[in-house]
Amino acid sequence: MEPVAIIGAGMTDIRRERTSDTYADLVFEACGKALDDAGMTIADVDVVLTGSNDFFDGRTISSMAVMDACGSYDKNVSTVEGDGTFGAAHAVMRVLAGWGTCLYCVHHKGSESVMPLITNAMFDPVFERFLGIEAVTSSALQARAYMDRYGITEEQCAKVSVKNHGNALKNPVAQLAMEISVDDVMSSPYISDPIKLLDCSPVSDGASAIVLAGRERAGAFARKPVWVKGIGYNCDAFHLGDRDLARSDALAAAAKKAYMDAGISEPATEVDIAEVSDVFSYMELMWLEGLGLCGPGEGGALIDSGRTAAGGDMPVNVSGGCLSGNPVLVSGLNRIIECALQVRGDAGARQVEGVGTAVAQGFNGPCGQSQCVWVLGGDV
């Protein structure tokens, strides 16, 4: 893959309910911040991509509402529905195909969504939906399958929540920055066994944007470019019964492709930090296994070891992750942005020393069915 650079990034604060802002307002704020960060104006942008989801937005062409706000007037523009890692991957394609600069933005207002109904609509209308299964209950099935297979405990999952909420204390955009204990997580009420309240990411509002440029334009703006070294994405079977829920073949395939692009052969030693979509606490452990950052079933031992803590040798979700703020779809782009800020050395109080290679992960569909992996680095 030819290198493409992230040359600007902007995020709104992630909050429970941004009542004073429409989602177009959030997009306007995020795009403005990304352009300011890049030291450019909208006139420097050649093509725009947006990300949205008609169900969450309650509008049948949900991207239409942001056409003013994203600055796409009189530019080529398109929309990818789904997680920010996928939309941003298509933005990379536009740049590789010859567009000089591409602005990509994605938004979410969970506060205006009815999550159980909307995520129930991911399931097949004939064969599954009537069960009432949705994001939390399907993930509980996956969590149980994963924990039973490898002997992962609820306490180990709770440690992920403790770590990530604690990390969020140093992230000014995070929604739930909290100093909590494993006991707090363990004593929080069950939402769907084995998932408890503090194992869940919150309902959130937010938007984010990035500016991408090809090799020719990357150096022309204010920021030191962060290079996209590899991208892989891949999709698993749809019906939960058609999959081995305790592992993610799609993530393994996506990671393999991204690492191949980036020339990484030993991810567990070559990756400095990872930002993964810990929508539920068990997911951080499962996704780290899928990413090859530990072996199958070793996610529990990894969190016990402290290596993934902010001060460890492979910090994971130093931003606080999705557990500390989860504007769906935006969350994937936020993983990429955190990696970019860390590689750039602009992560403020949560900066990890010497980040050369960072990995971001996001997904679409029930139980992480469709997975996307990005590898970022400081050098071409």
Partner: protein, 397 residues
């Protein structure tokens, strides 16, 4: 840059019907996918990536990309969903084009589909618009188009009969298309006799609601030789999605003093500049246009530069857009004959590819070198592609 030329090497479509009760959405998708793979002479395993689109609220499926893998063939492959309303099918085509042009993939499958029989189409379309400012007064696609038609008639003196000519033309063309939904050898008087839906738009002026799917295989220049069909090369793509509110077009024309449809005009200007088109009526051999209703077949000819402003009725009535004319429009029967919304824009691209490849059967226009395909949707948005028989001289974004 790694950007490369891209060709279309396979096309598959289902028969377009008002109601396909015999299949689920996934099975409908699968019909088109199998047809496209067979047409391209390849197996599922040879596809590198899949792009799929529809309008979520029509079937009520969230995450169609992940739900449809059993039919789309995306299991174990990269899959992405692209959705922009009426332009979804053309957006998917452009998305697949960029997947290949980026150098990241060699063989990409684009899928557009819709099962309108399972939807409240107008109800869903109304929710596209702003809940505070637009939705209380917006009565759906028919009424919105009636406003455009009224404005166009008052501005140019075009008549309802001029529009009926388009309905007659496209549905007569559909007689040659075994996949089309509405095929009719009607007369202008027959269209005029249909009931008004929203003046001046009559039942006979509107596209139908259709169940259908379309799939198209895009190939990199390096891989085109693997396929038995000659490639239909993508010569250029351009789009404009200018507006967010239903009132924007009126403000643009009445307050700002602009034209009615700048999205199509600006996209056309960019596309023709990229491809080198100065006289579309002469240079473009066939056009597959997303005409959601009859009046669009007059007005869009002007925005696409085939004639001067107000010249649409005279051009169309001259017969130059009929089969046998200088630039036949919609040999397939177009959207007036079949409108499975998420498939519709991609069907325009698929039909343009068949014309360029000389494989369009009874609806083939002789000796097609360049073909234009468009998508219409959103809030008067426009997607446009030019396909060509000859390999383009240079790679164009």
């Amino acid at each position: 840059m790694a950007a490369g030329r891209v060709g279309i090497v396979g096309v598959g479509m289902t028969k377009q019907r008002s109601s396909r009760r015999d299949v689920t959405g996934v099975e409908l998708i699968n019909e088109a996918v199998r047809a496209a793979l067979d047409d391209a002479g390849i197996k599922r395993k040879e596809i590198d990536a899949v792009v799929i689109g529809n309008m979520d609220h029509f079937e009520g499926i969230n995450y169609v990309d992940t739900w449809s893998v059993d039919g789309s063939g995306a299991l174990g492959k990269p899959v992405m969903k692209m959705t922009t309303g009426g332009t979804t099918g053309s957006t998917v085509a452009m998305g697949a084009y960029y997947h290949v042009a980026s150098g990241m993939f060699d063989r990409v499958l684009a899928i557009g589909w819709e099962k309108n029989s399972e939807s409240d189409t107008t109800g869903a379309i109304i929710t596209a618009f702003d809940p505070f400012w637009d939705r209380p007064t917006f009565a759906g696609a028919v009424a919105g188009l009636a406003l455009e038609a009224t404005l166009y008639m008052s501005e140019t003196g075009a008549t309802e009969e001029d529009a009926a000519y388009i309905a007659v033309r496209d549905r007569r063309h559909a007689l040659n298309n075994p996949y089309a939904h509405l095929k009719m050898d009607a007369k202008i008087e027959d269209i005029m006799a249909t009931p008004y839906l929203s003046w001046p738009v009559k039942l006979g002026d509107m596209c139908p609601r259709t169940d259908g799917a379309c799939a198209v295989v895009f190939s990199s220049e390096a891989a085109v030789a693997e396929f038995p069909n000659p490639p239909a090369w993508v010569h250029g793509v351009a789009d404009r999605h200018l507006w967010a509110y239903t009132s924007d077009p009126y403000v643009n024309q009445k307050v700002v003093g602009g034209t009615w449809f700048p999205a199509m005009e600006r996209a056309t200007e960019e596309l023709y500049r990229k491809v080198g088109i100065t006289d579309p009526l002469e240079q473009i051999d066939v056009a597959e246009l997303y005409l959601p209703y009859s009046f669009a077949g007059l007005r869009y000819m002007e925005s696409l530069g085939f004639c001067e402003r107000g010249g649409g009725p005279a051009l169309v009535r001259s017969g130059e857009t009929d089969m046998g004319g200088r630039c036949p429009v919609n040999p397939s029967g177009g959207v007036m004959s079949s409108n499975a919304i998420g498939a519709t824009g991609l069907l325009r691209v698929a039909e343009a590819a068949l014309q360029v490849q000389g494989r369009a059967g009874d609806r083939q226009v002789p000796d097609v070198k360049l073909a234009l395909a468009t998508g219409f949707g959103g809030c008067y948005w426009s997607d446009e592609l030019v396909l060509g028989k000859d390999k383009p001289e240079k790679v164009r974004g």
